[in-house]
């Protein structure tokens, strides 16, 4: 990952953005910034407003409140009544459906943005060739665009988007129409390209893996609001809310009473209704009387014998084993709750086994209180 | 009304002035002859006061006529044959509709018509009163009796007469053939008898005339037969010939001749009371777009030549009222028929509203 220049001015700033879809508010006050050369991903389930936010930045949706600034200059401002049309914002976009123009050749598709800018023909030819080369589509330059496969169209859409050297690239779920194998490959290529060109990107996806693999920062959205902003590590390792915890990777949520009297070593103790005791880390979040912690399924470990030196050890019974190929999912009975443990499938643990379960306290993350999380 | 050309202004002023001069008693044509800016020309075989060269330069004639399509086209064909440089175009509609149309247009400031032909004197009077006709005295007026010209002369004339009796389909007829007007009221004709629509001038004359003879109840009886009303005599005889109607109350003699010659099984009855007849009125229209052509047409129509065309064209077969007209193609002269005309044309005209109301009622409108 390229080093973040912490003190540089943000390239894109979104402030208190509100966008309506008809009468329904789709984006209800979203704020974030994107540093130059970074990729920021908007992640969330369908209907959360991520695409609408992206399109508002592009200029294809008209917000009803807030401000969007690019390089410090507002392109949309409700207070100052500014709304620069999309074609004047100098951004570029890759659409979910690729939007390849079927009546033009591949060359003409890619050259479009340059033609709009009245670039001389020789320069166009050179730039288009270069762009097609970067996406390995040089051989297809003369083809009619309607004859391309999905993956090929995707590459052409990409080439078209950066050929005129925009400073910002917007991606609207560009890989969601590709099959899984291709998606994986394209993910890497896109990331590679973005680094090479050093373009600031705003990327929209509902695919968790994609977001984690490609982003410098992630904005998790739900119902038109921001749930959490952070690096992939932060989002994954330190979810702030139950929603983020469960959306970004699979997690077990455990509720219980705070046992302040049992705190030790800077750890907090939580007692479930069924009497189980678990130690976790607060990470600066407010500690109330009732607590919820999140434990990732991969962080729970199953051992035949109780490991020493950790306060989190319990005897558990394996109820069910589900083989998932690369890993297995174990459903264990823990007190009166069921937890899910993900472990490597190399050593199968048969159902019915009585084993010990443990987890490092630093992996037991305290979530912010519900009210604060969904504000 | 403002006039367009100086020349027209001059002539009109002279004409008006002429009639105002204390020269009453002297026949109008003589007075006009003094006031004319030139003496009549002879073109082909008739006289005209129109500037033929100018008319040909105008190159067009717009004719509004009540005749059916073929008839109107036929009239235009005759004129065009004699004056090929003048392109003809026409609008046809039954007299009532035609008159309504031209009035609406003139009221809106549209003056697109050169010559008007109607099948009813009543609207002709009205149009004359409204200064719709151009006052133009044709040198061919000498061929006509005063009764067949407008009063004063120069507004319109009778280009022909359309007489009508009873006609029936001889193959489909049940029972005895009708003999007189009263016979059309027989209940066996119910749903099988035809007549003309209320816009027809001939129908108005028949209504007036038969009412005068047989009283108000006549047409009330007729209404019970639920007659079919048609726009043109051609359509009417078409149905008669094919048997869609058994009999018609308005069997126009010209149509009878035409269809008989085509081999239709139709018979004509001339009732002893007489044939109802309507004059066919032609006049040049005021503020015409092609004034010389319109005057030329009037002269042509009035002339022996034009009248011969009107009489012999199979789509027309009019009876001519020109004093020196030959017999019709069938050998019959108009004077051989007993014709039923209104005696008092003014009284006739005043009855129009009553006619329309009753007739529309008969037809269900």
């Amino acid at each position: 990952m390229p080093p973040m220049v912490a003190s540089s001015k943000p390239h894109i700033e979104v402030e208190n953005l509100e966008v309506n879809f008809g009468a329904v508010p789709a984006v209800r006050g979203v704020s974030f910034t994107v540093a130059p050369g970074q990729q920021l991903t908007l992640l969330g389930p369908s209907g959360c407003g991520k695409t609408t936010t992206l399109r508002a930045i592009a200029g294809l949706e008209k917000p009803v409140g807030g401000e969007i600034r690019i390089d410090g200059a507002p392109v949309y401002s409700s207070a100052r009544q500014i709304n620069i049309p999309a074609e004047k914002r100098g951004l570029s976009m890759v659409f979910q459906s690729y939007a390849i123009w079927p009546h033009m050749t591949v060359f003409e598709n890619v050259a479009y943005g340059l033609r709009v800018r009245r670039t001389p023909s020789a320069e166009i030819a050179e730039k288009v060739d270069h762009a097609l080369g970067m996406v390995q589509m040089r051989a297809f330059a003369g083809r009619r665009a309607s004859q391309l496969s999905g993956g090929q169209q995707q590459r052409v859409a990409l080439a078209r988007a950066f050929v005129f050297s925009p400073s910002v690239l917007l991606f609207d779920e560009p890989l969601s129409n590709l099959d899984a194998k291709l998606r994986g490959d394209m993910r890497l290529e896109l990331r590679e390209l973005q680094h090479r060109l050093g373009i600031t990107s705003v990327y929209v996806t509902h695919d968790l893996e994609e977001a984690l693999a490609m982003s410098d920062r992630i904005v998790v959205m739900r119902d038109g609001l921001v749930e959490q902003i952070g690096t992939p590590d932060d989002i994954y390792g330190l979810p702030r809310s139950a929603f983020v915890a469960d959306f970004v990777g699979s997690a077990n949520l455990i509720r219980g009473r705070h046992r302040a009297d049992l705190s030790k070593d800077g750890l907090i103790a939580l007692e479930t209704a069924g009497g189980q005791l678990i130690y976790g880390t607060a990470y600066g979040r407010p500690v109330g009387a009732e607590l919820t912690v999140s434990v990732r399924t991969v962080h729970l470990q199953i051992c035949p014998q109780p490991p020493p030196g950790t306060p989190n050890v319990w005897p558990v019974r394996v109820e069910k084993t589900v083989f998932q190929g690369d890993f297995s999912q174990l459903h264990v009975a823990w007190g009166d709750q069921h937890l899910v443990v993900r472990c490597a499938a190399m050593e199968p643990v048969p159902a019915g086994s009585e084993v010990y379960m443990t987890v490092e306290p630093r992996r037991v993350v305290l979530l912010a209180p519900e009210a604060a999380a969904s504000a | 009304m403002t006039d367009i050309t100086n020349r027209r202004l001059t002539r009109r002023a002279i004409l008006q002035g002429a009639t105002a001069l204390p020269l009453l008693g002297i026949a109008a044509p003589a007075v006009l002859a003094q006031g004319m800016s030139k003496s009549p020309n002879k073109v082909l075989d008739f006289l005209t006061n129109a500037d033929v060269a100018k008319a040909e330069q105008e190159g067009q004639l717009v004719f509004y006529c009540h005749e059916n399509e073929a008839g109107t086209a036929g009239i235009m064909e005759g004129f065009h044959n004699d004056f090929p440089k003048i392109k003809t175009s026409y609008v046809r509609a039954q007299t009532g509709a035609l008159y309504a149309k031209i009035l609406a247009e003139r009221q809106a400031g549209r003056f697109d018509v050169d010559v008007l032909q109607l099948s009813d004197l009543s609207p002709a009077f009205d149009f004359q009163k409204k200064n719709g006709y151009e006052h133009y005295e044709s040198p061919e007026s000498t061929g006509y009796k005063k009764d067949n010209l407008s009063s004063p002369n120069g507004y319109f004339f009778w280009t022909g007469v359309d007489p009508a009796g009873i006609a029936y389909n001889s193959e489909k007829l049940t029972g005895n053939a009708p003999k007189g007007w009263k016979d059309i009221l027989d209940s066996r004709w119910k749903g099988k008898i035809s007549c003309k629509i209320s816009a027809s001038g001939l129908q108005f004359v028949q209504w007036y005339a038969l009412r005068k003879i047989y009283g108000d109840g006549f047409w009330k009886e007729f209404a019970k037969l639920q007659p079919h009303a048609l726009d043109s005599r051609v359509q009417l005889f078409d149905r008669l010939a094919k048997g869609d109607d058994m009999i018609t109350a308005v069997g126009e003699y010209p149509a009878y001749i035409l269809f008989k010659s085509k081999g239709a099984k139709v018979e004509f009855v001339a009732p002893p009371d007489g044939l109802v007849a309507t004059p066919l009125i032609v006049g040049a229209v005021n503020k015409a777009p092609h004034p010389e052509a319109s005057k030329l047409f009037v002269d042509w129509a009035m002339s022996k030549r034009g009248q011969a065309w009107y009489q012999t064209n199979p789509n027309l077969y009019y009876g001519s009222v020109r004093t020196d007209a030959p017999p019709m193609p069938t050998g019959v002269k108009l004077s051989d028929f007993k014709l039923l005309y209104p005696n008092d044309w003014d009284e006739y005209a005043s009855q129009q509203a009553a006619f329309l109301k009753e007739w529309n009622g008969i037809l269900g409108l």
């Binding site: 008809g22 592009a58 294809l60 009803v64 409700s78 100052r80 009544q81 500014i82 709304n83 049309p85 999309a86 074609e87 004047k88 951004l91 570029s92 976009m93 659409f95 979910q96 459906s97 939007a99 123009w101 079927p102 009546h103 033009m104 003409e108 479009y112 943005g113 078209r160 988007a161 | 717009v62 509004y64 399509e69 073929a70 008839g71 235009m76 175009s89 026409y90 609008v91 009532g96 509709a97 008159y99 309504a100 247009e105 009221q107 809106a108 549209r110 609207p123 816009a199 639920q226 048609l230 726009d231 043109s232 359509q235 094919k242 085509k262 081999g263 329309l356 529309n360 269900g364 409108l365």
Partner: protein, 573 residues
């Protein structure tokens, strides 16, 4: 879609594309508004004018004219009877044909589908003329044959309400077929398959699954067709007038033609009719856009074709029968009549003649009318396509405020019978300072106005199929509105624009209701000319004229279709 209106700041760098969009958008909206609302205003004015008919502007206003309308209950009843009967017949024919052609494996399906639109091109006028010759009680050919075979009196009487409805259904009912076929094609076949998998018989599936699913669509079609039939004119004119059977449209025509013309009554009748049609169309929209349309997903499915076994030969015969009744028989009848002096079913040898053809061609009206119609067709289509294309864009794609209102204005002529609209135009444009009354210009304006719904709907149908993202992408590449319209939108629309052009061309040539009131001496057009011929000449001559018109237009169509097929295949780059 309501947005809070936020004006673009003047401080922003000059947004060059926005004024261009606004100019084009509001400009074309203004044109549409004038075209549609100007005549409607005069129509309403005349309907409420209770003063002296000759005085313009009106001296007093009131509702007496509408009260007078109820003096003619028979006419109102006739209109309802005929429209209802015609709708039922059209729906039956449409449903049967749609079922056969979309759902069964009858041979020659493709060909039949193409042929189903031929009656529309032949025009209801021609159908009425032909069926008049076939079905008159005395002189009708069918009845003559019937009597020759020993029957008595007549077997059909085309001059009755049901005769008129039959011809209307045959020639104006193909829209029912198109709509119902569309409904059938948009049904998800897996819904039926699910029923069958659970063991239901074919019949049960049809009754319990298929029928209930298509009923909303059929209901919509029924309402739409009923509205169309209310405004039908040509058939009632030819078949109803001579036998005194009036409907509202022909009554209006008669009132206008009388002397003195009863303009106020005619206007009131027209306004009443269009109020009813308006309500019908409003209902139609409610039915079509209501939530019960789970089957209409916008995707075109391949409907499941049912193997009907031996039945398909019977169904084939049914299709052939329809085409016989609607295409072959009428054309053959006209041809048969045109070569006779006096048309009968069993002519003697000396009854044959070619004189009618020479007479027809020498008729000034015929020649000039044909020429005028072709010219007008070209003009209407060529001006109409850009005009309606812009309107379609304005309503369905632009985000300009007020666009939704324009949709109502544009679709408004749909609710008004052509004749009534033309009446308003006649009344309105006669007082217009520029002298277009009685000229081809007035006809052009009239056609553009009454075809607005047709053109806009056709083009918008194509436009909506184009993925918005194709245009948005051009925007993101920096293209101004004019640039991207030229380089992306129009090329993509091109085949649709060509189709719309053809549609407008045909529509203007077959137009009757508007033209018949607005024709002048120098602006005769063919379909009203044929009607005039019907009322003013022998029927054989009229048949000849109609035949000649069909041949010439048919030839023009073939040429145009061939030409546009080449042009439409390769959109400009």
């Amino acid at each position: 879609m309501e947005r809070h209106p936020r004006p673009v700041s003047a401080a922003a760098p000059s947004a060059g594309s926005f004024p261009a969009q606004k100019l084009a958008g509001y400009g074309v909206a203004a044109v549409a508004a004038v075209l549609v609302l100007y005549p409607v205003f005069y129509l309403l004015q005349a309907a409420f004018d209770t003063g002296d008919p000759v005085a313009r502007p009106p001296t007093e206003y009131g509702v007496d004219n509408f009260a007078a309308v109820f003096n003619y209950p028979q006419i109102l009843l006739n209109t309802l009877t005929v429209s209802f009967a015609a709708t039922v017949m059209a729906l039956v024919i449409g449903f049967v044909m749609a079922w056969i052609l979309a759902r069964t494996n009858v041979p020659g399906r493709r060909v039949f589908e193409q042929l189903m639109v031929v009656p529309y091109y032949l025009t209801p006028l021609l159908g009425a003329l032909a069926w008049s010759m076939l079905g008159q009680p005395e002189s009708g050919f069918i009845n003559q044959v019937w009597r020759a075979l020993g029957g008595s009196e007549h077997i059909i009487d085309i001059n009755t309400a049901y005769g008129i409805a039959w011809v209307m259904a045959l020639f104006e009912g193909s829209v029912a077929f198109v709509m119902i076929a569309a409904v059938m094609k948009s049904m998800d076949p897996s819904l039926e398959e699910a029923s069958q998998v659970m063991g239901a018989s074919r019949l049960r599936t049809m009754l319990r699954v298929t029928l209930p699913l298509v009923i909303p669509g059929i209901l919509g079609a029924a309402i739409f067709v009923f509205a169309e039939m209310l405004g039908s004119f040509a058939v009632a004119l030819v078949l109803g007038l001579p036998s005194r059977y009036y409907v509202i449209t022909t009554a209006i025509y008669q009132f206008v033609q009388q002397y003195p013309p009863r303009i106020q009554l005619a206007a009131a009748m027209g306004v009443s009719l269009f109020a009813v049609m308006f309500v019908m169309l409003f209902l139609y929209r409610r039915v079509v856009t209501s939530g019960s349309y789970v089957t209409i997903t916008g995707k075109a499915f391949r409907p499941r074709v049912v193997d009907v076994g031996r039945l398909r030969y019977l169904l084939f015969a049914v299709c052939v029968l329809y085409l016989l009744a609607a295409v072959v028989l009428p054309l053959a009848t006209l041809l048969f009549a045109s070569v006779q002096k006096i048309a009968v079913a069993f002519p003697s040898a000396d009854n044959f003649t070619l004189h009618n053809f020479s007479a027809a061609m020498s008729m000034n009206a015929a020649r000039s009318a044909l020429g005028n119609s072709l010219i007008l067709g070209f003009a209407t289509a060529t001006i109409g396509v850009p005009l309606m294309g812009l309107l379609a864009w304005l309503i369905y794609r632009s985000r300009l405020p007020g666009a939704g209102l324009i949709e109502y204005v544009v679709m408004f002529p749909q609710a008004v019978p052509r004749l009534v609209f033309a009446f308003g135009m006649m009344w309105a444009w006669v007082v217009f300072p520029i002298p277009i009354y009685g000229t081809m210009w007035l006809l052009l304006i009239a056609y553009l106005t009454v075809f607005l719904p047709l053109g806009v709907r056709t083009i918008s149908g194509v436009m909506l199929q184009i993925d918005k993202s194709l245009e948005e992408c051009a925007q993101m590449c920096g293209a101004s509105w004019t640039f991207r319209t030229r380089t992306v939108t129009i090329p993509l629309l091109w085949p649709g624009l060509i189709a719309a052009w053809l549609l407008l061309f045909i529509a203007s040539i077959r137009e009757l209701g508007a033209s018949i009131l607005l024709m002048g001496a120098h602006s005769k057009v063919i379909t009203p000319a044929i009607v005039e011929s019907y009322f003013g000449t022998a029927s054989e001559l009229t048949a000849t004229l109609a035949l000649i018109q069909t041949l010439v237009i048919g030839a023009a169509m073939i040429v145009l279709v061939a030409f546009t097929r080449r042009v439409g295949a390769h959109p400009i780059d």
